[in-house]
């Protein structure tokens, strides 16, 4: 069927003709991370430098020129995932990837790699463990264990060019769904594949669609939830920026499956680049007749509106998100009625996460069996994780569901780093998964498979897939407080237990951190946490206590140390520090004495100084001032 669409045929033809002439392809990562590191300057420099060498440069692959001279294609892609090493530049067919490229490096790359096919060793990635240089993605340990499905095109294609998407097999699934499948066929296919919502809940996508499909209504809606608010998660941003057409294609398929002619993509305002790329992609799709009236000449109508959020985390919750699209305060509503019955503007609505929708075309195109064969039986497919924190390689990764935590941290992540950035796996303390709704995993979970159900069984959740590695210089009570502060701030205020309870939990955590707590404080945290879980309407409140409860469960000792011994084992809680000057190390230089804001340090010149504990406010100024590391914190 795909061969029938004139736009697809033409796009592929056009592309083939030009690709035959391309002698080198330079892909510059244009994700938010690499742009912040200066990727656009590098991009511009490449275009200028190549032109200065009077080489034929092509940036859009749209040229109609009939000359057969070879061209060099300079393209920007979406996020390649390895943000920390950006800007990333890959060059084909040499299959070489350069990391941390500066505009100053461009002339050398043109001179050596482009003109003479030589590799510039100093720009290659150095494996931090093996300490050797690696040339291409299949050698780099960060990429080796990954299996990219929803990120399959991110970093490979130019997200602002629909032809690249089409040439890569894009929109074939949409055409298959529109012409060869009934609405029920599509729902069945997705249900059989076992695809579960990637936004955190893990509800079977096929069932959600079927429930909406069978509802009779004059209008139905499909909404893409791109309000990725979890701190530490950025997979949806990367997909919207790097492969926006995959989201559009997923929505077209979902639209046909449930009988919707209108779709909304709700994107958080913190992602301006994602909004821009989505809008470009939608415009292109409209021009090709893939969106609008009678799409692909199939008789179906479908169009998409992009809506920007206004900065409210709770709008990631589906009923709150719908209220926000309707122009109201983003407050959740009790369910039932579920959106499948009464959703946007009171009509049956399906709300899917970005990653879920980007996975849909793969399943339709390649069949449910292939998808189901990846991952675990109850959580098939792959999952993206945003791997960050104190880990050697941070960035966006995608692996089969059920991968072990240790494989992610020690192999893909390259190991845990200490406060100086050196790799030291002994320093591993915890991995926080699922953001403010999730929990902490510890050493004992390193062998646990990461999937929906095993995580749920220990009180954590996969959430949207934020994975923050924490080393043992970080205080776990402070980590819990960080998340509590976040949910307390973001609570919409509707449910008393969530609004007031999170505030009280935060106060209790402050008691521990500032040395006012006792054993009862911990008990109270647990009781209150369980009450908030029961007494809140939406996912925000129901999961808000998770970070605290799970850390109390796995790090009770550390909580007790704060509560009873008034000690912080990681030495992070300033109020619990007991600064002492080690007489043997102190040379009596008087530096600490001068920096102490309350005059708590006494001592004669060239004689060891002493801190008066009663006066000390534990600000840490003396520790910072001392050049001999003579002050310990107890």
């Amino acid at each position: 069927m795909a061969s029938n669409n004139v736009f697809i045929v033409e796009a592929i033809e056009r592309r083939k003709k030009i690709l035959n002439k391309v002698s080198k392809k330079i892909i510059i990562c244009g994700g938010t991370g690499c742009i912040a590191n200066g990727a656009m300057k590098v991009y511009k420099k490449f275009c200028d430098a190549l032109k200065a060498e009077s080489l034929n440069v092509e940036v859009s692959l749209k040229s109609e020129s009939s000359s057969n001279e070879s061209v060099i294609y300079v393209s920007k892609s979406g996020c390649q995932g390895f943000c920390q090493m950006g800007p990333l530049i890959s060059i084909e067919p040499d299959n070489v990837v350069y990391v941390k490229v500066r505009p100053e490096d461009v002339d050398e790359i043109v001179e050596k790699t482009i003109k003479k096919n030589e590799i510039i060793e100093r720009l290659l990635y150095i494996d931090p463990i093996k300490n050797q240089r690696e040339k291409w993605y299949d050698e780099i340990s960060f990429y080796k264990k990954q299996q990219r499905l929803s990120l399959r095109r991110c970093g490979r294609i130019n997200p602002e060019d629909i032809d690249e998407y089409i040439y890569d097999g894009g929109y074939e699934a949409a055409i298959k769904a529109l012409f060869d499948m009934s609405d029920k066929d599509i729902c069945d296919e997705i249900l059989r594949s076992g695809l579960r919502g990637r936004g955190g809940g893990g509800f079977p996508t096929g069932r959600k669609w079927e429930l909406t499909r069978i509802k009779k209504a004059d209008k139905k809606y499909i909404v893409c939830n791109g309000d990725e608010g979890d701190p530490g998660a950025f997979m949806d941003r990367s997909i919207m920026e790097g492969d926006p057409h995959a989201v559009i294609e997923g929505m077209i398929i979902a639209g046909k499956a449930i009988g919707a002619e209108e779709g909304y993509i709700y994107v958080r305002m913190e992602y301006p680049l994602a909004v821009e790329r989505l809008k470009i992609a939608i415009d292109q799709a409209r021009k090709y007749g893939f969106l609008g009236k009678n799409i692909f000449n199939s008789g179906y109508n479908f169009d998409i509106i992009v809506m920007e959020g206004a900065g409210a985390f709770v709008c990631g919750e589906e009923t709150a998100l719908l209220a926000s699209i309707e122009g109201k305060r983003g407050m959740p509503m009790p369910k039932p009625p579920f959106p499948a019955e009464k959703g946007l503007f009171g009509k049956p609505t399906v709300i899917n996460n970005v990653e879920t929708l980007a996975t849909v075309p793969v399943i339709i195109k390649e069949g449910w069996e292939k998808f189901k064969s990846i991952g675990t039986p109850t959580s098939p497919g792959t999952k993206t994780f945003a791997l960050t924190g104190q880990v050697a390689n941070s960035g966006l990764i995608e692996t089969p569901m059920g991968i072990k935590l240790k494989d992610i941290i020690f192999e893909i992540g390259g190991g845990v780093t200490d406060k100086n950035g050196e790799i030291n796996n002994q320093k591993f303390k915890a991995a926080q998964i699922g953001g403010p709704s999730g929990g902490c995993l510890t050493k004992e979970h390193l062998d646990m498979p990461l999937d929906f159900d095993s995580l749920k069984s220990i009180g954590a959740m996969i959430g949207s897939g934020g994975l923050v590695v924490i080393n043992d210089d970080t205080c776990i009570v402070k980590v819990a407080r960080f998340f509590m502060q976040f949910t307390q701030n973001e609570s919409c205020g509707k449910c008393v237990l969530c609004r007031e309870g999170t505030k009280q939990m935060l106060a209790l955590l402050d008691d521990l951190i500032e040395g006012r707590g006792d054993e009862k404080t911990i008990e109270l945290l647990e009781t209150l946490g369980k009450a908030i879980q029961k007494g809140s309407l939406c996912g925000l409140g129901k999961t808000a206590p998770n970070p605290v409860l799970s850390t109390i469960k796995f790090f009770r000792e550390e909580y007790l140390a704060h509560a009873i011994k008034k000690e912080c084992p990681s030495k992070e809680c300033k109020a619990l520090l007991k600064p002492k000057i080690v007489a043997e190390l102190c040379k009596g230089c008087g530096l600490c004495l001068r920096y102490c804001p309350v005059g708590a340090i006494k001592g004669n010149k060239k004689e060891p100084h002493v801190i008066n504990e009663e006066l000390c406010i534990k600000c840490g100024a003396c520790i910072e001032a001392c050049k001999l590391n003579a002050i310990t914190v107890g």
């Binding site: 912040a36 998660a233 920007e308 206004a310 900065g311 970080t474 960080f482 998340f483």
Partner: protein
């Protein structure tokens, strides 16, 4: 007379925005977004004006304007510094950056904008650029792997630029 003229002018831009959205009350959020973009904040009288124009109560408009973190009822600075305090940035010590900026610009938790309306400091939950943490956004430019020194340097550059009326 002159007062009516200025107020007419004041409402001119928001009227255009309302027209663009066809006075559709479900588009209240995009309308407020564009109004804020235009005026740099949401003046009270504009909120009432929008309410009347859309045929919804001012209370509803206020409710929405105060619910979302992006909206501000007070004038914001010309340069909005957003320091990411998401998980990844937080564990990579974004607090030190916030403290350094507060000290430099004499700002605090309760005082977010400098009196000359040049800078506004905001702490945001996650900019989704965790791979390059800690991250700071000044208007639309993202700065990666920040240190207090790096950001203070950028602020210094802006102050100099403003002093020279935009000449570098």
């Amino acid at each position: 007379m002159s007062e009516t003229l200025t107020s007419e002018k004041k409402f001119e831009k928001v009227s255009k925005i309302l027209e663009k959205y066809n006075y559709d009350k479900t588009k209240l959020i995009p309308i407020l977004q564009e109004t804020q973009e235009e005026y740099r904040y949401l003046p009270e009288e504009l909120l009432s004006y929008i309410g009347v124009s859309l045929n919804i109560s001012s209370a509803k408009v206020f409710g929405v304007a105060t619910f979302y973190a992006h909206f501000s009822l007070e004038p914001k600075g010309k340069y909005i510094i957003k320091v990411c305090d998401g998980t990844a940035c937080h564990v990579k010590k974004s607090t030190a950056i916030i403290e350094a900026i507060e000290k430099k610009l004499k700002l605090s938790e309760n005082k977010k904008t400098t009196p000359d309306l040049l800078f506004t400091l905001e702490k945001v939950s996650c900019l989704g650029a965790c791979g390059i943490a800690p991250v700071v956004l000044i208007n639309y430019t993202t700065f990666s792997q920040c240190t207090p020194e790096k950001i203070l340097g950028e602020i210094e550059k802006i102050i100099k630029l403003e002093k020279n009326n935009g000449v570098e």
